[in-house]
């Protein structure tokens, strides 16, 4: 099981995609936040977090993800998640993340929906 977080960033259709692999805890969450804020500073307004490689997230990680969502709302940007395990998806719904960030089953659907939202 991969444990400490590995993060890679790519761009697809003008959207920054952050791929995570491992535990989203305090350390992992901070890593995601740093990358997200760098992208925001670079005028990126749409972010997609692909959590295919993540099986575990704790409350500290969730609170950091909420802060990133709040930041995105503040700058009127959009953040979405895709490829979540059923457990993480259920957790995100209970914790209210799904209220402010889209959750999609796969990256293709997420990119399509985010692009449709941008052009609307």
């Amino acid at each position: 099981m991969t444990e400490s977080l590995k993060l890679t960033v790519d761009h697809a259709d003008g959207i920054a995609v952050l791929y995570t692999e491992g535990y989203i805890n305090n350390e992992g969450g901070e890593q995601i936040a740093r990358a997200a804020y760098r992208l925001i500073d670079g005028d990126q307004r749409t972010l997609l977090l692909n959590l295919q490689g993540t099986k575990i997230v704790n409350s500290i990680g969730i609170s950091i993800l909420i802060e990133i969502i709040e930041k995105m709302i503040e700058i009127e940007g959009r953040l979405a998640f895709c490829c979540l395990t059923p457990t993480i998806e259920k957790t995100f719904h209970i914790m209210g993340l799904a209220q402010y960030a889209g959750i999609y089953p796969d990256q293709e659907t997420a990119l399509r929906e985010l692009n449709a939202g941008r052009s609307a």
């Binding site: 444990e3 805890n25 704790n58 409350s59 500290i60 909420i66």
Partner: protein
Amino acid sequence: MSAATAVAEPAAPAWEELARLAGKESGERAYLARLLEHWRRARGAAGAAFYACRDGACRRELVAGALSTPGGPRFPEAVEGEPPEGFAALRLPEGLVLALTDAAGSGGADAHGAAEPLTLLLAAASRCLALERRLKEQHFQVNYRGVELEALYDVGLAVASTLDLDELSEEVLVRAVSLLDARRGALYLREGDEYRLDGTFGGAAVESFPADLPALESCLEGEGVCPVELLPGARHLLLVPIESDRERRGVLVVADKESRHGIGPFDADDRRTLGLFANQAAIAIENARLHRQALEKERLEREMELAAEIQRQILPDELPEVAGWELFGWNRPARQVGGDYYDLVRLGERGRIGFAIGDVTGKGMPAALLVSTLHSSLTLLRDRGELSPELVARLNRHVCESSLANKFITLVVGELDPASGWLTYINAGHNPGFLLRASGGAVERLDSTGLPLGLMAAGAWQVRGVELAAGDLVCLYTDGITECAAPDDEELGEQRLIALLEAHRAAPLSELVAAIDRATLEHAAGLPQGDDQTLVLVRRAAAES
């Protein structure tokens, strides 16, 4: 702070903008940011920063204007205690504003009255932000209790849905680490007098530890110091037992509780949560463990059936009939399939009878396969020539190459020339055969003439021979006969076997075997025997009187 100059209030569009921001969902920070900017401009400050404060520590949240002035200080990220020098400071409810004064010393927060409208608005906004934060935190905690309940519920569901112990262990461990905000974790399951590592997360853990490890019980009770050496490098451990039917089945360990500021110990609430979780997990783990045991038993039974089938295929279906001679072979496999072997076969054109009896160490499939190897090798080698030390040496090399290091075979292999009555044999570490002469006298022993096969690649074996006269009886057997155990552990022994042979020496061989069979059953008195029982009997027909 003193009120020195009048304050310019924001123009109407600015008020409208503030009103719009205040009405917007999640617009509190943006509202405060605009307000701070109006406040800064009204005072002519080069820059202003808002700090959110809690428990005497303030963290920079917003900056309006410049972050610093040339040659002047820069807004710090955090302020603890008194505000730093070089700034004008304005204390707010659960907040702090620092302002950069210009070179002439004007434009700072302290240059204006605390009661003027913008400052009052800032104070109100600061308080609102703090209350909103607290509300969010409480909302987060309530929601997270929901996540905990869901996790408990899900593990409960797993009782009915998951029987794969590996999958379940990983699920239990990941959820425990996640629920407790732990950095690491490990799951140990009880095996005999120790706990063995079943899964680990976030770092290495010791492979096993004794069930009576000092400090374990007090740690499980939440008292004393926990054995941090279980997870090398960890600083704070929380251990809870996994119990079902009031028996300890395992121990769930999590380590190093995370916060935004690092790691720390777990508290009583954490122990209660993990304890509840472990109770749920215990039922699921026990079910999966029992399922694994049932599968293993089924696999072993299938293997035993297959091994027994192999053994049945190898033992001769029918025995050669030779005028003037009686030949008999008999085998009773033990409950666990063993490695006994016998053969009685006519050797091609030479008119001789080949015989063999052997015992492979071990049980089950490995023993059955080695018996199969022995049988095929012996059959091939016999086709190429008569009994000799070279034949057994080649057989030994083949067994050495085919078997595991701890496997060997004891074997008596021989040939009978029916015409002359001459019986030659090599005894490779097997029990001595018995020769009972029709003419009477002491029982002769066909002792070992070399090492068992498979022990060493090199070895020496001698061929010995005896001439059988009319009525002479040779009995070869495996140790399942002589070591047949009674309930008090007493073995049947060689002497009882010899007595049986002597008592029934003239009876048909089938009756002699039946007598030995009855004697072993009576001796065992219902005690299951762990070893096969095998006999090979050769008797020259008695001279007609």
